[in-house]
Amino acid sequence: MGTTASQLPKDSLSEYQELTFLTKQEILLAHRRFTELLGRDERNHPNPRVPMQVILTLPELKSNPFKTRICQVFSTSEDKDGSLTFEDFLDLLSAFSDSATLEIKSHYAFRIFDFDDDGTLDHSDLEKLVNCLTGETEDTRLTSEEMRQLINNILDESDIDKDGTVNLSEFQHVISRSPDFVSSFKIVL
């Protein structure tokens, strides 16, 4: 794979360094991993897209309950299939990198949690979020009563303007006070 490093032009490498929180090595590693995901015939394509199913086979994402959401949020594809180009992939890694700011992390976290893409976290979003967090199996699921209680508590705490939903600013307000959000909102290749 020695040639893959040289596939990334120097200009764009420095531009990517400028535009992401990644270091040169990380970008090169990301590029290598990305090209590994591509099929043989796709490598010559100027701006190849990797479908979501393939992205999700990455071990770093495989057991993440938000994996499809992450792909959808970072995808720039027109038909919303969650497929990623290399630049999208870099965006993803940058937002999840060690040195990314709280602001950008919380912004993307909000969009990941906003399952229906309507700009606020409403009741159904929160419910889906809880279900993601408690896993697939039946025995870890919360009962509907518990769920209701939980969501009410969350809205009580973080819905400052009392409109029944959590919007971005409220979300960031909550997140910015959390001691360990930045350290856990990380994905490294």
């Binding site: 270091t23 993440n64 409109d163």
Partner: protein, 968 residues
């Protein structure tokens, strides 16, 4: 104006848009209502006008008025904006293109959803307006409005920067906009710029130059902050290239003549410097050792296990420095420039030990040749200066000893302060549930098993939190719990006391053995102390773990108790060891006195014997190995510590191999032929014990700090140990441990470990300092031999190596009359700083309280407002349905209350254009048929933007400000 305004106000825009969306919804809502009512058309306009003056005072009126004034306001500002826009469009030229670019940038800059709604709105607007015949200008307005709204926010932010700058920025943005989409427009752009008369440097006035400079700086700032923007890469790339182009283009234009050259040079240098910095950063991250290993572990086991390895690496770094200091400034100079081995008694193995000095068993115990080498204190000579450049060996030895401790203190405290800074705010509990929800997932987890554990732990934490919330947990059998807890603590205390006594007993016994002579005893008896300490350190935590199940604490609390107990155990053991060592030192010193006396006797006899025979003969040379010597307690202490470290390391590794590896192998392969499931049942695989390992590491470090003064080889040994640990534990964790059942997150306890390290550092320097200060050094070994106290070396250096005035000054400075006030001053300063920090903390708490109060008040207000709005709406709906049911006259009277002509006109046109067949009667029931459930939610939505303090009210003056700026 895409470009900066929207870029910098990105976040605000999103927020604002929620409200904007609500407003628009509301507006539509109103509009629809109007449609229903305004079937009578223009005919009634005049009538309405008249009626408005004598409006009946109804409750309905309130809400109407609200919306009225709002639409009025909106319309006003829109008009103004349109005017402004007109101006700018003249100023710029091609309007359509502008429209295009704006649409484009709008698309890219907001998140998808907002964009969708906006599009929808735009479409709606457009529809209506097309019908009304006004065309696209209004569309532009509608879009522009939002943009200006977001622009407003920026202006709010940058108010301080002054209007001039904004003016400039706008101009710049205009330039940029036109150059954005089509590169073929370059010429156009150029032309335009020339029209403005700004870009050619010769034509620029200094004022404008200043502005341009500002613009360029602005762009540079933008380039730097670009990575912090949540946009897709494509957009970032476009913006970056654009801004770079802009900067490059106009940077050269700045400055004239010499200044220009200098400026260009400066720019070039900053560019180079940036590049260098970036490369250096890359280099630095490439230099961090074990990064990939730790990341691999991180992705398998989550951040808590990885935090141990990061801690280990940090420790390794510190030990590297300590090792560098002792190795470079003490060991190497002595080995290279000091007298060679065998030249003086202290550097020679005594005759009695010579036979077995090279045996492995002896060397393993750090006796024989190892004892008489640079590894230990006793080998060093008290020669004041060694080598050709007069290296002050004793001074260096002393200063390195002090320096290692000082450096460790500095590093630990600095790290603690930094950690505290990072997590200082996260102490309030007001977002308990939200944090559990939004931040509990550890995105690093890449192992399905860990993920399953995490799911389970999150679920239990949710359930616990709900349970705790529901009732403040009334324990039905509180007496039993209390009794069990007391019992558990009693048992733990017994364990601690027992282990302390055991160590004391063993150390005492070993002294007896030592007096008898070690050769007569077995290996076990010789290594009893270390083995007992290591075994205690291994088994007591397990015992504590069993005991703590009695207590039935919350796992987090239980973990803290466990840590505290292990800490107490280790500390107790260490101090018992030190006390026993002190006893040993005293014994040695008694022995030393005897030896000293014997030596003088021996020397006297020697000289007497020779003197009687031949007084002029040169003194007989006795081989240094034959010279009798003192016991040298310092070397003994050093040896003890080194042995302790070695045995500790060995136990750790052996436990690792047996407890983790062998267990894993057995479980794995015996599982096929066993009566129960070994993997799921009793032995199973072991978990990685983060807290225990961290504690072990901390205590190990404490021993290093304690013993490093007497055994300069300790940091080197520790470095080796840490290095091996890193690989061995990484391997063990990856191959034979399973992820923890309860996955804790790392960051919370980071400073806890650091605090423990600090305590240990303090406790371990205490005995070392005590021995240095109070006990006189041995008379015939070590760099300080012959001195009364070890620190006399400083006095000596001052007297002989520095000019006289310096020592005079120093002696004045060390005068108690000066030192005491100085200490007093420091104490006062500490007191002052402490009290100020306390008052800051209090102020912080106060402010937090205030914020909470305000929050609650706002909530109350909002609730009231929402309630009121709901009532109003209810009323309005009632009256509206009345109007729908009754005749049109009624309808008209409601309509009469409606306001401003313009909005009426517009709405009516819209109504006409829309669906004329839809009567009011059809529409109203539809509304009420939606039922009260969803409506309530919407009411909340309606109430908010209007009643939320600081949103609606603020936006009005801002809107007014926009056009005046736009005109420039």
């Amino acid at each position: 104006m895409p470009g900066d305004t929207l870029i910098t106000s990105e976040n605000d825009t999103d927020i604002e848009l929620d409200f904007a969306g609500d407003e628009d919804f509301q507006e539509n809502h109103e509009r629809e209502k109007h449609k229903g009512k305004r079937r009578n058309g223009d005919r009634q306009k005049n009538e309405r006008e008249n009626q408005r003056r004598k409006r009946p005072s109804k409750l309905v009126q309130g809400i109407r008025e609200e919306s009225q004034s709002k639409t009025e306001r909106r319309e006003r500002s829109r008009r103004r904006r349109r005017r402004a826009e007109h101006e700018t469009s003249i100023h710029e030229g091609n309007e359509r293109e502008r429209d295009q670019t704006r649409a484009k940038s709008t698309k890219s800059k907001k998140n998808i959803k907002n964009e969708k709604t906006r599009k929808l709105e735009g479409k709606e607007d457009g529809e209506a307006q097309e019908r009304s015949g006004k065309g696209k200008l209004k569309l532009v307005c509608a879009k522009n409005e939002e943009k200006i709204e977001s622009g407003d926010q920026l202006k709010e932010k940058e108010k301080a920067l002054g209007v001039k700058k904004k003016k400039k920025k706008r101009r710049k943005k205009v330039v940029e906009t036109s150059s954005e989409p089509e590169t073929s427009e370059e010429g156009d752009d150029e032309e335009e710029v020339n029209n403005d008369g700004e870009v050619r440097p010769e034509l620029l006035s200094p004022e404008e130059l200043e502005k341009l400079k500002d613009a360029v700086d602005e762009k540079k700032k933008l380039i730097q902050s670009l990575r912090g923007k949540p946009w897709p890469m494509k957009q970032k790339l476009v913006t970056l290239r654009e801004s770079q182009l802009f900067v490059e283009k106009y940077e050269g234009a700045l400055g004239k003549g010499k200044g220009r050259k200098l400026y260009a040079y400066k720019v070039m240098m900053t560019k180079k410097w940036m590049k260098f910095q970036r490369d250096f950063e890359n280099f630095k991250t490439a230099c961090i050792p074990w990064e990939m290993k730790i990341k691999e572990i991180e992705s398998h086991f989550g951040s808590s296990v990885a935090s141990y390895f990061i801690f280990l690496r940090w420790m390794y770094g510190i030990n590297m420095i300590l090792f560098g200091l002792t190795f470079g400034l003490v060991m190497v100079p002595e080995a290279l420039m000091g007298r060679p081995y065998g030249s003086i008694p202290r550097k020679t193995v005594p005759r009695a030990e010579e036979a077995g000095a090279m045996d492995f068993a002896v060397l393993w115990d750090f006796g024989g040749y190892a004892q008489y080498s640079v590894l230990f204190y006793g080998y060093y000579n008290n020669q004041r200066a060694i080598g050709w450049f007069k290296f002050r060996m004793p001074l260096s030895y002393f200063l390195v000893g002090v320096g290692t401790v000082a450096y460790s203190y500095m590093v630990v405290i600095r790290t603690m302060a930094r950690n505290a800074n990072e997590s200082g705010i996260g102490d309030d509990n007001s977002f308990n549930f939200s944090w559990k929800m939004f931040t509990s997932w550890d995105y690093l987890i890449g192992n399905p098993e860990t993920a399953d554990n995490k799911f389970a732990s999150i679920t239990t934490s949710f359930k616990e939190a709900i349970l705790e919330e529901q009732e403040s947990r009334k324990d039905d059998n509180i007496h039993l719990t209390r009794f069990l807890r007391v019992l558990a603590n009693f048992l733990v205390l017994c364990c601690l006391a027992g282990s302390g006594y055991l160590i004391y007993f063993v150390v005492r016994r070993s002294q007896k053995f030592a007096l008898d002579g070690l050769e007569n005893h077995t290996w076990w008896e010789r290594n009893e102390v270390n083995m007992v300490m290591s075994l205690l350190g291994m088994f007591c935590p397990m015992l504590f773990d069993v005991i703590s199940t009695l207590e039935n604490y919350h796992p987090r609390v239980a973990l803290q108790w466990q840590l505290g107990r292990i800490f107490a155990l280790f500390l107790g053991n260490l101090y018992t060891f030190i006390i026993a060592l002190m006893d040993a030192i005293n014994l040695k010193r008694k022995e030393e006195k005897v030896v000293k006396y014997n030596i003088t006797m021996w020397e006297a006899s020697l000289y007497n014997g020779t003197g009687s025979e031949n007084s002029t003969a040169p003194p007989i040379t006795i081989h240094p190995a034959d010279v009798p010597r003192g016991p040298c307690w310092e070397t003994m202490v050093g040896q003890e510590f080194v042995r302790l470290i070695i045995s500790d390391t060995m136990t750790t590794y052996i436990t690792l191999l047996i407890g983790d590896f062998l267990r894993a192998v057995l479980v794995r392969f015996l599982n096929h032929c066993w009566c129960w499931d070994l993997e799921a049942g009793f032995p199973s695989y072991s978990e990685f014990d983060v807290s225990g390992n961290v504690l072990g590491l901390i205590f190990n470090q404490g021993m290093i700090w304690m013993g490093a003064f007497y055994a300069p080889c300790l940091p080197a040994l520790n470095l080796l140990r840490l290095h091996v640990s890193m690989y061995l534990q990484c391997w063990a964790v990856m191959c034979c441990n399973v992820p923890q059942e309860r996955v804790f997150k790392a960051s919370g306890s980071n400073n806890f470990y650091m605090a423990m390290l600090l305590v240990i550092l303090f406790l371990s320097t205490l005995p070392a300092i005590y021995t240095i200060v109070t006990i006189p050094p041995s008379f015939d070994c070590g760099p300080f031999s012959g001195k009364n106290r070890m620190f006399d070396v400083i006095q000596e250096t001052l007297e002989s190596d520095f000019p006289a005035w310096f020592s005079k000054v120093f002696s004045y400075a060390s005068n108690p009359g000066l030192v005491l006030p100085f200490i007093l001053l420091m104490v006062l300063a500490i007191y002052y700083l402490q009290s100020t920090s306390k008052s800051y903390k209090e102020a912080n708490v106060e402010l937090k309280k205030k914020l909470q109060m305000q929050n609650e008040e706002n909530k109350k207000k909002n609730k009231q407002a929402a309630l009121k709005a709901q009532m109003d709406l209810e009323e309005a709906r009632k009256s509206a349905s009345q109007t729908a049911e009754h005749q049109r006259n009624n309808n008209a009277s409601v309509q009469r209350r409606e306001d401003d002509e313009e909005i009426d006109n517009k709405n009516q046109r819209m109504y006409h254009g829309r669906n004329p067949s839809l009567s009011a009667g059809d529409r109203e029931p539809q509304f009420s048929a939606r039922g009260p459930g969803p409506r309530n939610g919407h009411n909340g939505n309606h109430g908010n933007p209007r009643y939320l303090p600081g949103f609606r009210q603020q936006s009005e003056p801002r809107m007014c400000r926009v056009p005046s700026l736009e005109r420039h």
